[in-house]
């Protein structure tokens, strides 16, 4: 067998984490991107900066704050305990929460760009045809910005697959629950099991390359220039 059983487990977990995170971010990132694209509020700058924070912050900073915030004495930890969910660190959903924050800009920024590039005219035209705001969004804005959504989805998914620092800080390295592929590779390298490390790392390398290749060669079909 090329990969070990625990490698397969780690890969499956990684894919599940990336899928769930991407789906949640579609729901969460779209309204944020829409607001950022259309608002003239003075909060646009600060909110945009918060969304972009994970691009510049070291994952260890994010991971450390998440560990403290989601602990029993942290604000998030108190909240989740009050809701009866228990504490998030060392759980799959804790990783999801961390990943949602960590990958937020990869979802919001491409979608925001797509919304901005539509401009006001198609939406105004739809409005004169008496399309309600929601209708305008779903029948005009969404189809026109579909390429942006595809890019955002792929980037979010791929970025979450590559996540490491945050998982190391809040994951606890539990097989099948929080031990994702990147952490598994780290363990192999530290334990000097270079053969295993090479195989799993190669899988991730090929995966990342193929994702980016698809992204760079993909042309939205039926799009009129």
């Amino acid at each position: 067998m090329f990969l070990t059983e625990t490698d397969i487990e780690a890969i499956a977990l990684t894919l599940r984490l990336a899928t769930v995170t991407t789906l949640i971010l579609f729901a969460l990132g779209t309204p944020i991107a829409w607001w950022l694209a259309r608002t003239r509020s003075r909060w646009k700058g600060p909110i945009g900066a918060v969304v972009a924070l994970p691009l510049v912050l070291p994952p260890s900073v994010l991971g450390f704050y998440l560990l403290v915030a989601m602990g029993p004495n942290g604000p998030l930890g108190r909240l989740t305990e009050a809701f009866g969910i228990g504490l998030l660190p060392f759980t799959f959903w804790g990783l999801v929460a961390g990943s949602v924050f960590y990958s937020l800009p990869f979802m919001v920024q491409p979608v925001q760009n797509a919304f901005e590039s539509i401009g006001d005219r198609p939406l105004e035209a739809a409005a004169t045809l008496r399309a309600a705001p929601l209708d305008r969004f779903f029948s005009v804005a969404l189809p026109l910005s579909l390429p942006g959504f595809v890019t955002a989805g792929i980037l979010t998914f791929a970025h979450t697959v590559g996540e490491f620092g945050v998982v190391l800080m809040i994951g606890g390295n539990i097989p099948g629950v929080t031990r994702v592929a990147s952490v598994q590779i780290y363990d192999y390298v530290e334990a000097l099991e270079y053969g295993n490390a090479h195989r799993l790392a190669a899988v991730l390398l090929v995966f990342s390359f193929l994702v980016l290749l698809a992204l760079y060669t993909w042309k939205p079909s039926g799009k009129k220039q």
Binding site: L67, N73, G172, N173, I174
Partner: protein
């Protein structure tokens, strides 16, 4: 004859000093720099020892702290450390004997570690084995046994109590003993196996509550130090090793709950 010896000694010293670099001629010991790798469990005592050593000798010590597994892998791949203070004997021995990356004969046990089952909660740990048996905790934080000897000792302790399989689903693993401590200290894990040195100051546990694991429940955590190839010709490294064996350093090491030979 006497004069001759003295002047030739002076000349030799002068030549040696000139070759050693632009150090002031008046100083007999040239202030040097040491770059060492230290196992995470020894962080606190090492910082105290380094402060004293730098004061006493004018040398500077740059220390990197991490899991013994990581430091070992880095050394094997050319990290510029001049000495290793490991958390075990196995890896320094390998470096010395198989990989020939260490200075033969420089290896010695600088500390014998103690494992403690610890909680940040002051009332949580009274009777360690009873608590482990009761399962009355959310998570048990241990150092990754593949990378850190304290993790290995934790597993042996649980095996001695015949509880390993029952408790395994509650394991969370830190990459090294520092992260293992962090999981417990932030309260995310109720209890964890950490190094006594991490929770001890001046000979007693200063925070939370703990059960010191009797040393017969696991193989002794003998922590060996080794001078590495790149530190072979650095007298400051030799001085640091002599210092580590001295009474001043030993007092600190004991203060943090370690035994010495």
């Amino acid at each position: 004859m006497k004069d001759f010896t003295l002047s030739s000694a002076a000349a030799t010293a002068l030549i040696l000093t000139l070759f050693a670099g632009p150090a002031p001629l008046i100083s007999t010991a040239v202030a040097g720099e040491v770059q060492i790798a230290v196992a995470a469990n020894f962080t606190a005592p090492m910082k105290a020892i380094i402060a004293l050593f730098e004061e006493d000798t004018d040398h500077t010590v740059k220390a990197s702290y991490g899991s013994t597994g990581k430091l070992f892998a880095q050394i094997k791949n050319g990290a510029p450390f001049e000495a290793l203070l490991a958390a075990d004997q196995k890896r320094p021995k390998l470096l010395e004997e198989e990989d020939e990356l260490g200075v033969p004969g420089s290896r010695f046990t600088y500390a014998i570690g103690t494992l403690v089952l610890w909680s940040a909660d002051a009332d949580k740990v009274e009777d360690g084995p009873a608590l482990l048996k009761s399962g009355d905790f959310n998570k048990l934080s241990i150092a990754n046994p593949k990378l850190a000897p304290y993790g290995e000792a934790s597993i042996e302790t649980l095996e001695a109590l015949d509880l390993k399989d029952t408790i395994e689903p509650k394991f969370v693993m830190g990459e090294n003993i520092a992260q293992t401590y962090q999981f417990v200290d932030t309260g995310n894990a109720d209890i964890g196996f950490v190094a006594l040195s991490q929770v001890m100051e001046g000979g007693k546990i200063v925070k939370g509550s703990g059960w010191v694991v009797p040393s017969e429940m696991h193989a002794p955590i003998r922590q060996d130090a080794l001078i590495l190839e790149s530190g072979k010709d650095n007298p400051a490294v030799t001085e640091l090793f002599t210092y580590l064996k001295g009474e001043k350093a030993k007092a600190i090491i004991h203060d943090f709950g370690y035994e010495t030979d």
